[in-house]
Homo-oligomer: 198 residues x 4
DNA sequence: CATGAATGAGGCTTCATTCAT
DNA sequence: GATGAATGAAGCCTCATTCAT
């Protein structure tokens, strides 16, 4: 079956959104594999068949959710760092924002991680999109001497790796925000890694 | 079900090992959920029922494989860094060793990552064990002024995050070792993050 | 459910006909069971619900199509044999006409065959109606000594059987008209089977 | 999934056969599409999953049954016509044998007919195999002047068509053997169609 | 120690049909 | 007359696990 048509009515659009929300919760709570369409539709308050009016398969929903998380995260980061005066401030605010975001959207974050085992391409795409933006920001900062002459791409991935484990430890495992000292300690490493030497 | 007793005979031990190897490949290739006991036993050349002579369940195998990877990885890192003269050399050699190891044991590495969605505790335990050793090493290095006065634990997790993404990008996604420049670039960030300032 | 009333308006009649045509194609191409109402309505360019404005069920459509094929076929045969001077000529022209018709209306023909597994009565009725006319024609021919004194009914079914397999082999399986020699060869058997002995 | 291994034990072989028998009944009674795996396994007295130990899919069973009917029918025909002294006797005995066989194996016969709508190739193959043997027999008879110089292949298909409708009318629709007069009447047409003219 | 047949719950998905607009 | 969203039953199939030998 080819792509499903978008819902034609507002009612349809609302149902679709309810399903998406329900899926986010179900996947987040039970994991993709343990989650069932029945669970999703039940939570959304519709019949099982309704699911397939809006999504061709269970996998398509996870794909859509990963995309969604990508957008939301970029948005959150952009917003949080909008007022930063230099790149290191961007990094700092970005780490904080990510820590908040990953806790708030714990389910989505878990889904993104699990998507690796459902559709590697979507997972990879998620990070590559992120890395690209990240590297671009670093490149600009290097040009303005706000950051050492690091390789922007390698640095971007390194920083994402650091952030990833912050999210994992605190948002996922401990279900809380990292304590300020921890964030300070992590950022201290980041800062020394990036800041220009006199 | 209590844990199964270890096989008494050498033949049994061999069968058990064959099953473990087969599971490593099957899980690595198809992923934990898509892999089937039938696939594992077929690959191991034994009957399906034989599996349950050695493992109480499918999940137990992944647990055992994750432990296994933990041991092997620590062994590989210890070996690779044995001759290092200072901590930064340890880091450098460690990154290189990890890059090689994650490529060589791609399947195992994938399994570790997926174990998060099968048994979070095992996954978390894997990293916590690693982090503990890592942090201890850093602590010693700090005492000897080979590394800045960072928070050893936070730094350990940050460095593991960096390494994780190196493994992901190269061993998993590209199925090759990282090019030397990439490793240099990453290590450059690490070094500046850790090395003492004059 | 009693039969649905015929549409009152010309627009309704047109929609009904579009649905019938679409069903003919869908059933012919995918088979009755694999064909879906959604496929039919899509092809007809109407909404799914519209189908049930004109037909009480999927089965009713196949029934109507079988009837339709019966009428059309009888018409085609009558037309094709109108100018025949004796019964054997009728047979010959009839076989030719059937070969053409079954190719041209391949989909309908397939539908008739499949109707056996949807509603045996409709299928049986189709052939019994045909057989009746066929036998009547033979009976008249026998009275006029244009055909041997065969049992008209048995002969009619035998001849339909022969024709059926001509349609199957050529129209359905090979999607072409039978080569003239083949038709000659078949008719040769028919002729000897029917023609009066001196 | 590739082909399933044949059962290794006698018990397995027996189960497989029970499933085949059950499927024959279920398909014959309800038709292929209406028949369910659940119905088959219930009738066979095994769990649903057991079905898939022996057959990759529902369709594979029908394929196997069609093959089976082919073999059995050829066997029955060969046996019934073994003592015939000339080809017309073969034809006569063959028609009688087919009439008996199609009644006795009504379910199988129905299944063969329906197989056309499940896997056209299997249905076609069934008849082509039959036709080949039939034509060969006719060819030999022609060489020995027991039959007119008809085109063996065309004649074979024509005769199969006649027999098919005999089976349909009596075995399937009326669930009885054709009355002797009917068989006589049909054979009379066949005989005139085939026998050499003086 | 090993086999391989058997189980049965459970999941995804399809689709004819109904209903509210 | 027409729409298209919604229903929900039903079916195929998979697979971890158990059992009899």
């Amino acid at each position: 079956m080819p792509t499903l048509p978008r819902p034609a009515t507002a009612r349809g659009e609302a149902t679709r959104q309810r399903l998406l929300d329900a899926a986010e919760t179900e996947f987040g709570v039970h994991g993709f594999h343990a989650a069932s369409i029945a669970g999703i539709t039940q939570r959304a308050g519709v019949a099982q068949g309704t699911f397939y009016l809006y999504f061709p398969s269970k996998e398509d929903v996870i794909r859509e959710l990963v995309h969604h998380m990508g957008h939301e995260l970029r948005l959150a980061l952009a917003t949080a760092t909008a007022d930063a005066t230099d790149r290191l401030a961007v990094e700092r605010l970005g780490f904080e924002a990510f820590a908040r975001f990953s806790l708030l959207h714990r389910n989505l974050y878990r889904i993104v991680m699990e998507s690796q085992f459902v559709d590697e391409a979507i997972y990879r795409g998620y990070y590559e999109a992120l890395a690209q933006g990240y590297a671009a920001g670093l490149r600009r900062a290097i040009e303005q001497d706000e950051v050492r002459a690091v390789d922007p791409e390698s640095a971007a991935w390194a920083l994402m790796g650091i952030a990833h484990f912050v999210g994992l430890r605190y948002a996922i495992w401990q279900e809380r925000e990292p304590p300020p000292e921890a964030l300070d300690a992590v950022f201290d490493v980041v800062r020394h890694g990036l800041e220009p030497r006199p």
